[in-house]
Structure formats: C-alpha cells, structure tokens
Symmetry: D2
Subunit: 368 residues, 4 copies
C-alpha cells in the first residue's frame, strides 16, 4: 500500500484554497468575510457527515426486519447519538459567528446578494430525509427558491421517499409487543396483520391495553380528564398522513418507554430517546440561528431576500420532526402502577433462562 | 484574624443538609428526586449570584453621572459579561436534568404539587430588576400566583422602581454625543435639556442626524424603503412607555454602535453588546427550558398547575428585555459611508492629543 | 398529602442565607468574595449529587450477581452517564470563576487562610469511593491535612472498603465468558474457580485465548513486538494490588470490547465506556482547575498552604482511576481478524432463538 | 455586480468532494473513516481562520507605534477574543471524535500510515507565529519530520521571524508608563532609550518601582520571602532569549495589571488577559487531544510513528506560549496597598479633563 500523507489524504490543497471573498475583488477588502466563508464551509462539512450517518442508519432500518441478535440496533443508536453530538457542536459554533458584529457584517453583506445562509440544500435535504415533509414546511415553495435544480431534485426525491421517520414507524409497527387491544379500532394505511398465532399465544387472556387504559385514566387529575380522548385518538384511531406515526406504532413506542427495563427494550428505548435528543438539538440550533440573524441584521431583508427572523422563527416553531414521539410522554403513568406482564411475555423480553445463562443471575422480575 | 475553614466558611453543614425528598417520607423513595432538588438549589444559588452582580451594576449606574475616568464603566461591562458567562452555564446545566427520563420523574412528580419550577421568585425578580415590566409579562398576575407574599412584594417593588433598562436609558440620554437633530421632534418624559453651550459649540454647523438620515436612506433596497418611517419613529418620536428607550437614548446607542472605534465609545459599545448577549442567553435558557419541560411532561398539567410548554413558549417569545437595542441593528449603515465627524468632536472622543500622550502614536483618524 | 411549596421544598431559606463573606466583616468588602463562596457551594451541591449516584451504583454492583434480565445494569450505565454529564458542567463552571481576575481575588484572598479549595472532603471521598487508594495519592497524608476528623474518617473508611473499581473487577471476574487459556498462568488473590461444567462445555475444544494471542501477535508492527510481554502480563500474570484489575477481569473486559455487538455485551460495553468517560472528565477537571489556580495565584502559596499548581499538576497526572481499562485499548485487533466464536457461545450471547423471538429477525451472525 | 450563489460562493463542489476514504478503495469500507477525514478538515478550516486572525493582528502590532486614539488596539483585542472563542469550539469538537470507538478506528487505522494528526503544519505554524520558538519545542526536529518541505519552510521562517509574542514585548517596552527604577539594572537586547524628557517630567520625584517593591515585600508570607529574588530577576535582570519578555516589558505588563482601571490601560489589560485565555485554551486542547489519543490507541505506536500519548503529554506540559505573562500574577499585591500615582501621571491615563469632557463626570481618582 502506498504511503498516505496527511496533507494529501485530507485534500488540503482543495480545502484551504476554497476561500475567495467577494470583497477581496473590490478595493474594500472586509476582514470578516473570511470568517463568514469558513464557518459556512465548516457547517457544510458537518452537514455532509450528518448525511453520512443518516444514510447509513436508513440503510439499516430499511431492512425487512432488524435483527435483534446482531449489532444493527446498537449501530443505529450509536450513530444517532453521534448526530446529536455533532449538532451540539454546530450550536456552539454559532458563538464564533457572533463575534462578528453587525457593523463588521455590513462591510461585505451587500456583495453577497442574493446568497444567504438559507440556501444550504444539505440542511434542507437532511430535514427531508429525517421526515420533514413538504406539507409541514413553513413557507412551502419558498424554501427551495434559490437552490440549483439538481439540489431541489434531491430534496423533492427525499420528500417523496420513505423517510427515516416512516422507517421508525414501520419498525415500531413490526413489533409484536403491542398486542390486540380489547376495544374496537380501525388501523390506518400502514396496518399489517397484527394477529399471529405466536403473539396471541404469548399474551393469552391478558388484555394489556384495557389494563393500561384504566390505569392511565386513574392517574389523571380532574382537569386532565379530557386526555382520554387524546389517548384514544393517539393509540387507536386511524391516521392516514405519511408524516405521523400510526396508532399501532404509537402503542409500540409507548410500550418501549414503559417497559424499557427489559433487555429486549433497552436499545429500542435508547433509539427513541436519541430521536428526541436530535429534535431538541435541531430546535435549539434553529432558535439560536434566529436570534443570531436578528442580532446581525435586525429586521432588514436578509441577503437571501427573506425577512430573516420571522421566517426562521416560524420554521423553528413548526419543524419538530419527532414531535409525535415527544407527545407520548403525556400518556405515561407511574412505574409502580404499571400492569404486571404475564410471565411468558416477560421471558420473551429477556435473555435465555438463568439456568443456562452465560452470565449468571437470578430470575429478573423487576421492571425498569 | 481567626482561622477560616473551608467547610465552615461555606456553611456546608447547612448546604448539604438541605435535601429532603418528599418521596423519602413514603415507602417509595425515588432515586431521582435528589437530583431534582439539587439542580434547583444550584439554580437558585446562581440566581443569587446574578442578583449580586445586577445589584452592584445598578448601584453604579444609578449615580448622577458615570465617571469616564474611573473604572466604573469597566466594572459594569465586566460584571455584565460575568452574568452572561453564568447564564451559559445555567443553560448547559439543563443537560443534567435531561438525564432524568419522564418515567423517572413520574416516580415523585405527584408528591410535589403544587410546587413547580415556575415558582422561582429570584428569577422573576431578576427579570423585573433588569427591566421586564408587569405590562410586558405573559400571563400577568399568573406568574406570581404561588409565591410567598414577601417575594411578590419584592417583585412588585422592582417592577415599580427604576429598572436597569431605565438606568441604561438615562445614561444614554445624558451623553452629549447625540447632537440636536435638524428636524423638529418632541422628546419624551425623560427628556433633559439637550442644548448646552459646550455641546453645541463642539458640533458647530455640522448636522449629524441630517447627514446620517440621508446616508441610511440611500443604503436601503427598494423593498426596504418603508424603513424610513421606522427610522423617524425610533429616533425622533415621543415614546412614553417606561419599558422602552427614548428617542434620545436610541440616538446615543446608535451613535455608539456606529463610532465604537473611538476610545471614549469602546466600553459603552461593550456594554450595549453585553446587554444583547444577556438577552440572548436568557432567551436560549427559556427555549431550552420549554423543550425540556415538554420532553418531561408532554402536554400534561405541570406540578404548578400550568399548561407547561405553552406558557413557557409565550413567555420565551415575549420576554426580550433589551429588544429595542437589538432592533437598532436595522438602522446601521456601512462603515465606509459613515459621516466623517468634525475634528473637534473627534478630539473629544479620544485620549489627550498625541503630542503629550503618555502612550505615543500618530493622530488617529480611522474609525472602528 | 400537604401542599408542597417550591421555596420550602428547596429549603431556600437555608440555601440563600449561607453566604457570609469574611471581607464583609471588615471595612473593605470585596465584591467577588460572594462569587467565590457561591461557586464552591454549587460545586459541593453537585459533589453531593455525584455521591448520590455513586452510592446507588455501588449498592447495585455489590450484589453477588447482577441480574442480566433486570434493569440493574441499565441503571448502572444510566447513572454513570449522568455522572459524566454532571462533570462536564462542573468543568464548564470554571469559566465563571475565571471571570474573577487575580486582582479581584487578592481583595479577600488573605482573609481566607488557611481555607482553600483543596479542602473539599466530598471530592476526595468521591475519588476514594470510585477506587483511588491511598497508595496512589499524590502527596499522601497531605491531602487530608486540613479536614475535620469526621471527614478524614469517611475517606479512610472508603479507602479501606471495597471500592467501585473493585466491584467492577469482581463483576468482570464473574463473567464466564473468559474461558480457560491454553497456556499456563497463575491467578491472583481474587481468582475464583474458573472451570465449571457449564462454561467449559459451551466453549468445547475452542481455545479462544490461544487464537486471540496469535491474532494479536500478527497485528503488531515490528517496533511493537515487545507488546507481547505486556499482553502476557496484563492477561495472565498474577496481580495482587487492590487498586488494579486482575488478569481474569482484564480478559473479560477485553472480550466485552471485542465482541460488544452481541446483545448480552452491549450494556457491559457501555458501562466500560462510561468509566473511561468519567476518568477523562475528572482529568480535564483537574487540568483546568490547575490552569485556573495558576492564572489566579501564580506560583504563590495557596490559601491552603500548598504550592498550588505543582500539587495539582502531579495529582492530575497521577489520579486516573480507571487507567487499566484505558490501557486495554493497546490490545485490540481489527474486527475482521477476530476469532469467530463457536455457535454455542454465540447463542448464549443473544436473545432467544428467532423462531420464538418476540421481535422477529433472522439469525444474527455478524459481530459488532 | 454579478449574482452570488451560496453553493458557488462557498465552493461547495470542492469542499464536499474532498472526502475519499482509503478504506473505500479496499473491499472493507470503514464507515467511520469519513468522520475521521471530515473532522480533520474542519480543524484545518478553523486553523486557517486562526491564521487569518493572527496575521491581521501581527500586521497591526508590527507598526512602529499603536495609535491609542484609533481602533487598532480594540481590533487586536476583539480578534484575540475571537481566537479564544474558536479554540473553545475546537476543544468541544473532540467530543465528536470520541464517538469513534477504538474498534471503529482500527477498521481503517493501518491504511493511513504514515499519516497522522501530528502532521498539521497549520497548527505548528500557528504556534510558531504566536511565539513558540524551536528551542522550546518538545521533540525538536521530530515535530516537522513528516511535513512537506514547503510547509517546513513556512514554519522555520515563522520561527526565525519576529513573533507575535515579541511584538507584544516591543509594544510593552514602548510604553513610557514604566518609569526609571531606582536601582541599577541592565536592559536586554530589545532595550530602547527609556529616558525621555517627557516621561521623566511626568513622574517627577516619584520612584514607583521602589515604592512597589517595598509594598510587595511587605505582602509576602514568611515562606514566600524568597519571591523577592524572583522579583528582581523578572523585573530588573537582563534576559537575552528571544522567546521571553524583557524586564522592561514585564514592568509594563505588571503596571497594566495593577492599574487596569485607568481608561488608557483598559484595552491593554483586555489584551493581556486574552493572551492568557488563548494559552489556556491551547493547553486544554492539547490535554484533551492527549487523552483522546490515549483512549483511542492506548500505548500503541501512532499512525505517524510516534508513541502518541507521551509525546503529546510532554508537548502539552511545555508549550505554554505566554507563560511569562501568567507568571506575573505572583507579583501582584492588594489593590488597597497600591502606590497612589502622582496626579500628573493619572491625568495622562484618562480622557480629557472633566471640565471640557464630552461625557460628563467628576474627576476620577479611584483605581480599578
């Protein structure tokens, strides 16, 4: 194998020769334009990395069935966590841009028209891949107005493809851990045969959802009683939109949150938790970006022609991708009031029986 | 002097014996309640420190005139910066609370009613001291609903006192650097005699605000032309509310931003910049707090009886204390188009003339 | 249940009345002494929380056998992670103290003698609980010189008790996943019967350690060949110190790192990784603390009488608690060269066979 | 002016096509190699930005005399602060790399030989520009062993040029605020005529350094008495090395720290403080980098052929660039014991006299 050298390996000749300030072409070179270029390039590098992680996760999740005995789920969890760690740094990075005062920005701002930070196709594509559908976009067509056609096409394709959120939905729906509810309901488009000999026999006579619904109802304060309607809606009504979770998937997600202590549910719980973490980081990123833009250009029209803060604010308020999972928190109950699962179900949620366990221990009965 | 010992000096006997979980009084001790108590105590300690800084700043700003040849302004800038550094840590601290999952919180949540994180009188008092007036509060009376009377009194007193924002307004108004505008206007309640022999003689025939208004007008894109109305409103109309800056103060603040390069304006610029930094940190704190509450309790009623996220969201959107200063960014123009100040004015903005300067150098003419 | 009120619940009357600056007793009140007090109190609050987590972890680990089918291991991993998150905030908190300039500190520094930040018994006790034994302490007796006897006793007791590190050692030693090595070796004090019908029958004729040693040897560059000695030392020699891992435990830890992809090893891997994370955060804390002290008092004698930076530097270099686990990294090999485990072993490392798996999927064969 | 488009402006075609993993050329593509490439590219982008700031600062400092009435010093302070902010993000960025486990790194590590993170010529060049001379380097020749000749030349050139540290030394030496010491001393190579009619007449009969030396001596604890030798050495002995501050510069720096409250010294104080901040951030960066490498490859030989952690540790301990400034802290005394400056000196350290001050206020006498 040929020797590898740091400078060549990283293609630094290209990377370090890609900063050509517009103001340098005039007689009024603006010192801070280099910062403006470099920070956006750093963002785009990290966006590429986020895509690298998201693509690999989607590849795994797209399989007809995740193999619980392989490292697949572990890999998904690990890479989602990495995405959250990257997003934290991207948020922190705004501190650097904020060392550029509005007067310093004005030195070159007009030379950039109509370019603008809104035009990162990688960021919009990432949102689309994760699950932000066109219908949910603030500003609709606007957000792609100034992109190259090839990048618009990529985004449109992602929007019409099965997103990561939908793959999560599918994965949740496949879990036979959410048994037959005892009361009538109608599944949506994504419904799959829920009943199979295997699962039903595990649960026996035990009607989990009836038990849980009762327990939840009892946990509500008087003023919260109308939560029961929402409960029925979320867990048992038809939902046909392609950017939300089905009732069936919601049931599985709730079950994971409730019983995360069982070995089989530990990584699924980490996965769901990481989704919330990513959404929160994206939210904070949008929030700080909005504040930064406001501080930098006030209410003037952005270089991209938008009214800046207002657009960003509306987008920030609206673009939560995994908000349905966050919403499930409303339907949890105290651990000590959780229905006790049948022994047979319990045994399916853990490792092989202790007698022949490779890692000793008494029978586990406690929940998370 | 008697020996001082770490443990006694810090009164650790008190500090470390102030954690008494409610759940420990039941048979279902909840591990995470200790975290809940300690993190709130840590917040309150830091709020006390923020008050210590804010009070000392207010004491300095309250003087009839800040002495530019004393370290007073430097002290104000330094302590405002410290406040921002503290706020950054308080934001970071939310990461710790987020390691408490919703299920872990549920273990003791109901035992806390009607206590809630909304009830930090120190935080509300801090907002009031800085300048958040009752009229601007989201939820009005609600926000003090569950406080002790003595703490409500403190807040009410702060709300009716001259706030830090108002002291900033006074300080800005006292600056003779904002000369007589050439067009008619009416000053507000806080107006003071602007004309004094000294100032007018410095500016001579030079009509700064006429020059600047022209330059600003020329800098606007077609779609921004209606900014001129806002310009007149912000810099020359009467404003009588006590939670906003007067036209006169706005002029001084803008002048500082524009000509921050002159020695006399360097610390004033840092002061204004620190106000924006503090507002931004407060804003991010509220935003992350809101997201955290949402993740923790969903749409359920908070332990304090509020609908949680919605209240926090509205408060976060509304409670920018120094928003008027942030808004001034809209009225900046490019440095190279700035009106050149008369020599006599320039000389008043710098150190003693170079000939007898203690720290050599040629005559400075460049602006920031 | 009686109503709970925020202010009382948090015992804020005590917490907020525990700041009594020494300088306030003189005519020269020093503004920054309040900061000095409050930041140390905040540290002590968080140290108490770290103890709360560490104690709960030790309680779980002290059981004769961790139950892999219970949430015990998950709880340990979760709380270790929380400890790391807290430590990150404690490091960040140093930023606040650094806003106190040396001149500001001098205003009250002499009044504190002989108190000093070195005297946090909670921090020293935490180190001892985690596994820092007296023999490893830099400065030996010195580090407790100025503590109250009752706190010295606590530390001494922790140092002579079975530490968390030793519990980790025990837990690793209990794992039958590290089979009989093919070459002669002598186990140390902690050795337990390794051979039992169960384990040996699983591994059959497969001599894992012989295979692995060959693979490792082949992976070494010429200049690294003497690593083989270290390999034998670490994994097969007797070690009798009570602050290091036994050869047997090292084997288990390495096995976990290598085969972390199998479900049964996923949480054990997270546990080991969290130990390294905690050690790294502690290390960064000590490093930044040292730099901060240096910046604050230079080479002068600390208020606690120590030479400040030098002591801190030596302690920082020496006090890695889990350094033996970090060292194992040297003995990893590439994933694609890992010995393939026998089917029977593999089956013990995963969930129940797919035919009756509660969460479908094909047979897993891939490694992490 | 032609339209500017985001994608072209940022040259994203180049930036986003510069990731070509070595492992992708084999049959064993390693997922994490992309992260390894991108994080190093992000580091190099930021190193370029650090050079952009450092170069601009050096350009200003290189002038024969900084103009205190221009924004020059403000610009230097502002950009040094930006460098510190960037360094904080670079430290945080290590978190991302730490999501790559040792096993993940092993998947492609051997393919990179002999490339290594040690080979960032931009980082070494930055150290050299700031003031790290060859004589101070740990490992001497070693650190350039694998660089391209053109990059070695750049570093060598920087090492033999007048560094930023030396420019700071010159700037400090030029300040006439450090008057004639009353006791004999010999200035070093950089000495300039200190006596000029102007300065001596300002100070009159007042022998500042005699007064200060007495006050310092009185402030020392018994065990610190030998600090007086260091005092003489630092402030009055000849020093001929080109990587240290002269006695004369040390005197000016100390004076600035002591009397930072006077307007003329406020920005110089911020400048010195920022140097310490940068050194501390660089130190933390090296420390965390060392820990990260240790965690990743243990004691194995790095891809660059070095023994990894040991080299990094020694470099981290040794490479403080502004350590002489940090050391001055040892020679500060309490504010209330500071010699009172003569009125004539005071008047030179402030703005024009209050009677004709553009910004009112009584005569300032208090110190910082």
């Amino acid at each position: 194998m040929a020797d590898v050298h740091y400078h060549d390996y990283l293609q630094l000749d290209k990377i370090l020769d890609a900063q050509h300030p517009e103001s340098a072409k005039t007689e009024a070179s603006a010192h801070d334009e280099t910062l403006f270029i470099i920070i956006h390039q750093a963002y785009e590098l990290w966006f590429k990395q986020l895509h690298h992680e998201a693509d690999s996760i989607v590849d795994i999740m797209r399989k007809p069935a995740l193999n619980d005995n392989s490292p697949e789920l572990q890999t998904v969890v690990h890479r989602l966590n990495r995405m959250a760690v990257i997003l934290r740094v991207l948020i922190h990075q705004i501190d650097i841009l904020e060392t550029m005062t509005p007067m310093d920005f004005l030195d070159f701002r007009d030379m950039l028209r109509p370019a603008s930070g809104f035009q990162s196709w990688q960021f919009k594509l990432l949102e689309a891949k994760l699950g932000l559908k066109f219908e949910y976009r603030h500003g609709k067509e606007y957000y792609t107005a100034q992109l190259r056609q090839e990048h618009i096409d990529l985004i449109k394709q992602a929007e019409t493809s099965h997103s990561f959120l939908q793959l999560v939905n599918d994965w949740l729906e496949r879990m036979p851990i959410s048994p037959i509810p005892a009361f009538p309901f109608r599944e949506g488009d994504h419904a799959q045969p829920l009943l199979n000999a295997d699962t039903s026999s595990i649960w026996g006579e035990f009607d989990f959802w009836k038990e849980y619904k009762d327990a939840y109802s009892n946990s509500l304060a008087e003023a919260e009683k109308n939560n029961m309607e929402a409960f029925d809606e979320v867990f048992f009504q038809h939902r046909e939109t392609h950017y939300t979770l089905s009732a069936k998937a919601n049931r599985a997600a709730l079950f994971i949150m409730l019983y995360r202590g069982y070995p089989l549910l530990q990584l699924p719980f980490q996965l769901l938790n990481n989704l919330l973490e990513i959404d929160e980081q994206l939210s904070t990123w949008r929030h700080r970006h909005m504040n930064m833009v406001h501080r930098m250009i006030g209410t003037r029209i952005g270089t991209g022609g938008s009214s800046g803060k207002d657009y960003l604010k509306s987008a920030a308020d609206k673009h939560y991708i995994f908000k349905e999972i966050a919403k499930l928190t409303s339907f949890l109950i105290e651990r000590r009031r959780l229905p006790q699962l049948p022994k047979e179900v319990e045994s399916k949620l853990g490792f092989v029986a202790p007698s022949d366990s490779p890692h000793g221990g008494e029978q586990g009965t406690a929940l998370a």
